[in-house]
Amino acid sequence: MLKSALSQLQTIWTILQHSFTRSETVQYPEQKPYLAPRYRGRIVLTNDPDGEERCVACNLCAVACPVDCIALQQGVKEDGRWYPEFFRINFSRCILCGMCEEACPTNAIQLTPDFEMCEYDRQNMVYEKEHLQIDGTGKYHDYNFYRVAGLAIAGKDKGAARNEAEPVDVRSLLP
């Protein structure tokens, strides 16, 4: 009996205390809350530190996506890079789970703190590459896939990637 009365009082006290704490409610949309960079909102495609398109069209994001809302087609550029000829996200299906970002081996696809994506027409929720691609590196500044990959591209020959030895001279039989 006494115990429960105490509990009641404790509860009332706790609630009372809240009257003196700072309010968490913000006057959205006039006032915008702080969202951490890791917040999972609108998806973007980023560039590598050299300013080149990061996405190599490996399709891992698409296959990781639980609602199958990513579709793309790979192509090969003149310089030997793989890139997406088109890259489409159907945001009307996207559940912003971030699985694509987890899967991406190049850090190309990233979720951003922007969540304001309402549209009157659902068709407008379909984003193509030109709507997704941004100019910067996003959250991850340094990673450059082609610097670690073995595939040669213009400007990065065989043996020129990080931790790579000069190409082997196959004619040599020296030990």
Partner: protein, 932 residues
């Protein structure tokens, strides 16, 4: 016999090694270098297991590491896969392979179906501990078909074992030493072997990949595929074409133990992407007054076809590359007497005779796997490497039976690949080749003769006589006994017969490729004579196209008109409407002849996939679905009816020909088709109407079949992007297309397991993403599929009711200014559709005339001259090729420029003044192949 693995008793068979046994039991044991068709060499050390000498050692965990692929199983043997020692060893192997492996998976065309990825996951290796520098290689340009990325090699040696040992190629080898081993050519250049494309599937990593796919890439999990049949030649190899976004991306092998096994030829693998060609017809086109075509919808087209058919006398040209069903419906429409099967006038009797001989002969008509069991082979006049390439690969295996016989003597098992090759060295079963020119099989032949076609026939007859011990027949004209050539033919025949003395299973290969009925007949007689000596004989006759034999069966014995007869009745004004089904007539007869035929018909309706000269000459061009987009039955050269299924629904108004024709027949109110609604109804109708084709309905399960109550999916379980693929068109996703004609689904729903073999739509099993997972579908590792054989044989061994004809052939001699015109086929170019596929297109060389130097000198011609043959209009460049038999001029067959030439006729060659040779057909250069 039983063995113990990790304490569990399992049944085992003696002729299997431990790796095969484990895989057959469904155990996961990683491996690289073993290949079910190529056996073991123990090179990669990946398949290590622990073997215990006895029970006591097993209890104590004391055993020795052995390579499962090199370990025979014996009763009571004890092994462990799971013991820590074996696991650590296997993990160590993968880790060491990964030391130099590039960080390439995202940009590697093998990713997602990579055996190395699968095995890495299987052993549980995750983190790279090595921090040193990675070895790198420069890649080579290997031609427009195969892409090279050498950094990814794990030195398993599968590529060279396939390319050199299995397929007989010479220009790919291991080079360098220690950890610098490089697999490639001595210098950049197109891989020479016509089976090079198999490297894509044989290599367990992304070193060799499909160049077309690399440049329009889709991961395996995103490819929609369905069981299909290669339309490249009459062998009928089983394929798995893969599609995404309405484009054919690649063709993979579909295992069929009786036909192609694990391997396709490059025409089949790379020759189907023409279906993406921009010259494909999308909508029916009606030719207007100005000669231009106006698109109309399918109702309009159907009405016009119907009214044309109703208005006057109809004749039809079918196609030996179209399905049995489409041809059957067309024949129903025009009537048997007005249905031309669509062969050229030269081919029609040849194919008819091939069928007649197969029926009459008492020899076995072998499938490819049976051909590989031959211990002696005679090839008469057929250049199989170019007309039915997969057979050439089988013949290369056939000659190795000597090696297996020697091995059996030493109690070596068949999978001991390195030991057996070492033992046999150059000893092979006898292969005798008689051809008008050099063939690619010559290097493995015991004797290869260059003879003019009639001589080949004579050689065959003499071999038959020698086998029968009969020397009384004289197949030549009176003077031939003085003819030194004849003596040599006689001598060669005696030598061949002598070479066949010890043989037990003779395979005789011939076909329509020689252009001479007598050659095929001679081949049949050799087989017959051999059989009469109480031994087993096989007879394989190659016919030109994917459904040539089906067409011959459809038209058997009712005197269907050939193209010449059709032209004659058109000339006589007896044809108002001519329907042409999937057939470019300009490849079947001389241009002026076809022009006249088409001009003499009031209306020409062409049903075809591509814009070609025939559709361009038609009044109504109707788009048809390709073999990859429609269902159909094709009859292969061994008389096997096989079903292919659409891989994806065709675009626009490209309906399968059978759909167009069935709709037309229904509109016409034809009684026979009134209750035919499905493809299966047509198949059954055809089976009922044509006794020779009675079996075709059983080629695959019909559309009502369900696999454990559900359909068989065309899409792998992790098909991605379904809610975005079409979102650019509309965000409201349509329902998946329904397939009313087959038990397959255009979706990932259903069960891709336990189905009949004809319904295998992709190979994937948990943990086995690559094509190596096939053993999960096989009843016996490397053996037939669990679902039984695919397709059904229509020709059965028979009693030899018809006696084989014995034709005398005249001794061959040419006048001083003449040559004998002989057809020369090319794997790339002689088949019209594969020849326009990207990649292959770059390898197609213009048609030419080939002569040996002596003949060229005799005729006063030089290399590069333009020559006209007889009154054939087109001038062709002359090539001097000493591989040609003397007196013979080879012409490139299957090309439009040579369509009017008749094989084995004596002709004069005229030199054309001011000849400019046709430009190279090479389009563009290598796409990105040189990077790195």
């Amino acid at each position: 016999m039983n063995i113990r693995i990790d304490g569990v008793e399992y049944p085992a068979t003696k002729d299997r090694n431990l790796l095969e046994t484990c895989l057959g039991l469904g155990l996961n044991l990683p491996y690289f270098c073993w290949h079910p068709a190529m056996g073991s060499v123990g090179a990669c050390r990946q398949c290590a297991v622990l073997q215990y000498p006895d029970e006591e050692a097993e209890q104590a965990g004391r055993g020795k590491l052995v390579m499962a692929c090199m370990t025979p199983v014996s009763d009571g043997a004890r092994f462990s896969l799971e013991t820590a020692q074996a696991r650590r060893f296997r993990q160590g192997i993968i880790e060491s392979l990964m030391i130099n492996h590039p960080h390439d998976c995202p940009v590697c065309a093998e990713g997602g179906e990579c055996h190395l990825q699968d095995m890495t996951v299987m052993v549980g290796h995750r983190d790279r501990r090595y921090r040193g520098r990675k070895r790198t290689f420069r890649n080579q340009y290997l031609g427009p078909l195969v892409h090279h990325e050498m950094n990814r090699c794990i030195t398993c040696y599968r590529c060279t074992r396939f390319y050199r040992d299995y397929a007989g190629g010479t220009d790919l080898a291991a080079q360098g030493c220690h950890d610098h081993i490089f697999f490639g050519r001595h210098e950049d250049g197109v891989l020479e072997s016509e089976f090079a494309g198999n490297l894509v599937e044989v290599c367990p990593t992304g070193v060799f990949t499909d160049k077309h796919l690399v440049h329009d890439y889709t991961r395996k999990w995103d490819l929609q595929s369905a069981p299909s049949v290669c339309a490249g030649c009459a062998v009928g190899c089983n394929t798995l074409p893969g599609e995404r976004y309405g484009r054919l991306k690649r063709v993979h092998n579909r295992f069929n133990a009786e036909i192609n096994g694990y391997f396709l030829c490059d025409r089949g693998r790379f020759g189907a992407t023409w279906v993406n060609d921009e010259r494909r017809l999308d909508y029916p086109g009606l030719r207007g007054e100005d000669g231009r075509y106006n698109a109309i919808d399918h109702h309009g087209a159907l009405q016009r076809i119907v009214s044309s058919v109703e208005r006057g006398a109809v004749a039809a040209v079918g196609s030996p590359r179209a399905s049995v069903e489409a041809n059957f419906l067309l024949r129903l429409l025009a009537g048997p007497a007005r249905f031309c099967p669509g062969f050229s006038a030269v081919e029609q009797p040849l194919v008819g005779e091939a069928l007649a001989l197969l029926r009459a002969s008492r020899a076995t008509v072998p499938d490819i796997a049976t051909m590989e069991t031959a211990d002696a082979i005679l090839v008469l006049g057929e250049d199989v490497s170019n007309t039915a390439p997969r057979i050439a690969l089988a013949l290369r295996q056939g000659v190795r039976n000597r090696a297996y016989a020697m091995a059996a003597g030493l109690k070596l098992q068949d999978w001991q690949d390195a030991a057996i090759r070492n033992l046999a060295q150059d000893q092979r079963c006898p292969l005798f080749i008689a051809a008008t020119a050099a063939t690619r099989l010559d290097p493995v032949a015991a004797r290869s003769l260059r003879l003019a076609t009639p001589e080949i026939a004579r050689l065959g007859l003499r071999v038959a006589d020698a086998l029968a011990g009969d020397n009384s027949n004289d197949y030549s004209h009176d003077n031939s006994h003085d003819n030194p050539d004849d003596h040599s033919v006689h001598r060669e025949a005696a030598a061949i017969a002598d070479g066949l003395r010890d043989a037990k299973r003779l395979l005789v290969v011939s076909g329509t490729g020689s252009g001479d009925i007598a050659v095929m007949q001679a081949a049949a007689r050799v087989a017959e004579a051999f059989r009469d000596t109480g031994r087993e004989a096989m007879l394989s006759l190659v016919v030109p196209e994917a459904n040539s034999l089906g067409q011959a069966l459809l038209c058997e014995g009712n005197g269907s008109p050939d193209l010449d007869a059709l032209a004659a009745s058109a000339e006589a004004g007896e044809i108002d409407t001519l329907l042409v089904l999937e057939n470019d007539l300009y490849r079947r007869a001389a241009t002026d002849q076809v022009d006249r035929l088409l001009a003499n018909c009031q209306r020409v309706i062409a049903l075809d996939q591509l814009d070609n000269p025939t559709t361009s000459a038609s009044h109504l061009a109707v788009p048809a679905a390709s073999v990859i987009e429609s269902e159909g039955t094709l009859v292969s050269l061994e008389g096997r009816a096989q079903r292919c299924f659409p891989v994806f629904p065709p675009h626009a108004e490209r309906h399968p020909a059978w759909v167009w024709l069935l709709a037309t027949l229904k509109e016409l109110g034809r009684e026979a088709v009134s209750d035919w609604h499905h493809f299966d109804d047509v198949t059954r109708g055809c089976a009922a109407a044509i006794p020779a084709l009675a079996g075709i309905a059983a080629a695959a399960p019909d559309h009502r079949f369900r696999n454990h109550g559900v359909r068989v999916p065309r899409q792998p379980p992790r098909y991605s992007g379904r809610t975005a693929m079409r979102a650019n068109v509309s965000v409201h996703e349509p329902k998946q297309p329904e397939d009313e004609e087959s038990p397959l689904a255009f979706s990932m729903e259903g069960l891709n397991r336990d189905q009949p073999a004809a319904l295998l739509s992709y190979v994937w099993a948990p943990g086995w993403n690559s094509n190596q997972g096939l053993h999960r579908f096989q009843a016996d590792v490397g053996g037939p599929l669990k679902g039984g054989p695919a397709g059904i044989r229509l020709l059965r061994a028979n009693g030899g009711a018809t006696p084989l004809p014995r034709h005398a052939t005249a001794a061959f001699a040419v006048e001083a200014d003449e040559v004998l015109l002989v057809p020369r086929y090319r794997i790339f170019g002689s088949e019209a559709l594969s020849a326009i596929s990207p990649g292959i297109r770059e390898l197609v060389r213009p048609a030419c005339i080939e002569l040996c130097a002596a003949d060229a000198e005799r005729l006063g011609l030089a290399d590069g001259d333009g020559v006209q043959v007889g009154d054939n209009a087109a001038a062709l460049p002359l090539r001097i090729d000493d591989a040609m038999a003397p007196g013979c001029a080879g012409y490139t067959a299957g090309y439009r420029e040579t369509a009017g030439l008749a094989p084995n006729t004596r002709q004069r060659l005229r030199r054309v003044a001011h000849f400019s040779p046709p430009g190279p057909t090479v389009i563009g250069s290598d796409r990105g192949g040189r990077h790195g």
